[in-house]
């Protein structure tokens, strides 16, 4: 029996989180079917068909999927689900919205945010903000699973040649409609996929200073910019910058925490980074306990100096 994986995409291309989820799905050792539900999404379906290890792509093209409304997405997923033993999606804000709803329509519980596949029914997942790892066995007849992208390598985006099968959608539920969106525009790499992340905390003092200090550093490193919850709550940057238990989980090669003390919920979102640098004036800040390189001092002097020295 095959595994159904719900692609995260923007109708033109696949989001990187889809490739990480393919690797998780491959660990089940079953054929993988990818569902691309979108509108005018031929390019995304084609991209899904080229992913290494994918057996089949189902492409539902309907205006009902243009904004991935949970009610419409879940209805389609639940209609397809009985043909599969496992239904997976990346644990992105979209996957976390429609996958548990699809599970509910099928009378099943979801296994959320897995970080490993132990067997067909057993998975590990972080609980308590990652301060404990639970090994859980699902007794659901269909296993609905969201996948934490940072725990799995990305599958190769090319090399596959799966057939694309057009399927009908499940229509518009009439329960919800899209009103509008306010998306952060940025030329920088996506936070969850960036190789380097520069993150700022409340100690930066204002949105203006946050920008003035962190953007040149991020530009030099071609890094994404993140923030602590405190910095977001204080209004320095929008919500989508937040790294932590309830924000985004990142695991870049290099994470530079600037003026971040290291609250448990922030550490939950970045402690799997390969190399962590902490810059903070408080020598007792908890962030130093897990930083590979700690620099104690005034960030207002250190950050410009760091930006300058990296240029050489």
């Amino acid at each position: 029996m095959p595994t159904l994986l719900i692609a995260e995409h923007d109708h033109k291309s696949l989001k990187p989180a889809t490739l990480n989820a393919v690797t998780a799905a491959a660990k089940l050792g079953q054929p993988i079917t990818i569902l691309v539900a979108g509108h005018n999404a031929d390019a995304a379906a084609k991209a899904a068909a080229s992913v290494a290890g994918v057996a089949e792509v189902l492409h539902a093209d309907d205006a009902a999927y243009v904004h991935f409304l949970a009610e419409n997405m879940a209805a389609l997923i639940a209609k397809l689900a009985p043909n599969y033993t496992h239904v997976m999606a990346p644990a992105t804000s979209n996957g976390k919205n429609y996958l548990p709803r699809a599970a509910g329509l099928c009378g099943c519980a979801q296994v959320s945010d897995i970080i490993s596949v132990e067997s067909a029914d057993t998975f590990t997942r972080p609980i308590y903000a990652g301060n404990a790892i639970a090994t859980v066995q699902s007794k659901a007849k269909i296993k609905f699973i969201t996948v934490r992208g940072t725990a799995f390598d990305a599958a190769a985006a090319t090399g596959g040649s799966a057939a694309v099968k057009k399927i009908d959608g499940a229509g518009d539920s009439g329960l919800s409609k899209f009103v509008g969106e306010e998306l952060s525009k940025s030329e920088r790499p996506e936070l969850t996929a960036a190789r380097i992340v520069v993150s700022g905390g409340r100690a930066l003092g204002s949105g203006e200073v946050f920008k003035k200090l962190l953007e040149p550093l991020a530009d030099k490193l071609n890094a994404a910019i993140g923030a602590s919850r405190a910095a977001v709550d204080a209004g320095y940057v929008p919500n989508d910058y937040q790294v932590g238990q309830t924000g985004k989980v990142v695991a870049p090669d290099l994470y530079i925490a600037i003026g971040i003390s290291g609250a448990i919920q922030h550490l939950a979102g970045m402690k799997d980074s390969k190399v962590i640098v902490a810059i903070n004036k408080d020598a007792d800040a908890p962030i130093f306990q897990l930083a590979d390189y700690g620099l104690i001092g005034d960030l207002f002097q250190i950050v410009p100096e760091l930006t300058e020295k990296l240029g050489k």
Binding site: S176, K271, L290
Partner: protein, 250 residues
């Protein structure tokens, strides 16, 4: 309109958790417990809608042992009108909660259900969508703004790229994100008043639901520990280490 909110009693977010030596779970005995922070936001939102005269009645529901009545009292002290306690001595998981809530909702007939987007113990973030699916209602997850108007509710959602606004037909389920509001502290007079507010008990048998877990926790372990690193004296050393030791920058 009538609003139903749900609250869960969890280990306080400031407590450093301890894993039981036998790996069977996380120690909850003699540990400070509090209302799940996202549920506090749900309670606050319901109370504000009542204060704006949009809601006419607010009800809070919780599942768990006798002590969850303390959590219910907190919600009542914040301004919720009345409470329902479903006593459960063993673990109850999201699916069981959603099934039982569905039965309560069929009886209570609220127009809006507000829940936390996740509980900070299990972090599974699914009870809201599970419930919405079972009821056949629309869902507005990760809400940072909720506006009720006529027969619908506009929900601004925190999503990966920024913010998204959807409009849901009522009745609907909304789950709260961090920036929806700042929950109030209950005042002493309100804490006293809350003692007189009613807490009704409904058993899972009465609701006709079997709350047995469908997901078995085989073991709970410590996450891999990160070794603390070194302190560097200056920026030059930091750049040198990153370049030549960690090799993460060119």
């Amino acid at each position: 309109m009538k609003i139903l909110v749900t609250v869960k009693r969890v280990i306080d977010f400031n407590v450093k958790i301890r894993i039981k030596p036998d790996g069977s779970g996380v120690e909850t005995a003699n540990v400070k417990m509090s209302m799940n922070p996202f549920d506090e936001i749900a309670v606050e939102e319901a109370v504000r809608l009542k204060e704006k005269n949009i809601a006419t009645e607010t009800v809070v529901v919780s599942f768990g042992a006798a002590q969850v009545q303390d959590t219910l009292r907190t919600a009542l002290a914040m301004g919720i009108d009345r409470a329902i306690h479903v006593p459960v001595d063993t673990e109850i998981q999201s699916l069981g909660v959603a099934q039982a809530l569905k039965k309560i909702i069929e009886k209570e007939k609220p127009d809006l259900v507000i829940m936390g987007k996740q509980a900070i113990d299990g972090d599974s973030s699914q009870a809201g969508p599970l419930l919405a699916a079972m009821l056949g209602w629309g869902q507005g997850t990760f809400a940072s703004k909720v506006e009720v108007a006529g027969g619908s509710v506009k929900v601004t959602r925190e999503v990966d790229g920024g913010l998204e606004t959807v409009e849901l037909k009522l009745p609907a389920v909304v789950t709260t994100d961090l920036r929806l509001n700042e929950p109030r502290y209950a005042s002493l007079p309100n804490i006293m008043k809350a003692k007189k507010k009613p807490i009704e008990t409904m058993t899972v048998e009465q609701l006709g639901v079997n709350p047995a877990p469908r997901q078995v926790t085989l073991k709970v372990t410590e996450p891999p520990k990160r070794k603390g690193g070194i302190k560097v004296p200056d920026v030059a050393t930091l750049v040198d280490k990153l370049r030549n030791e960690a090799k993460v920058i060119p």
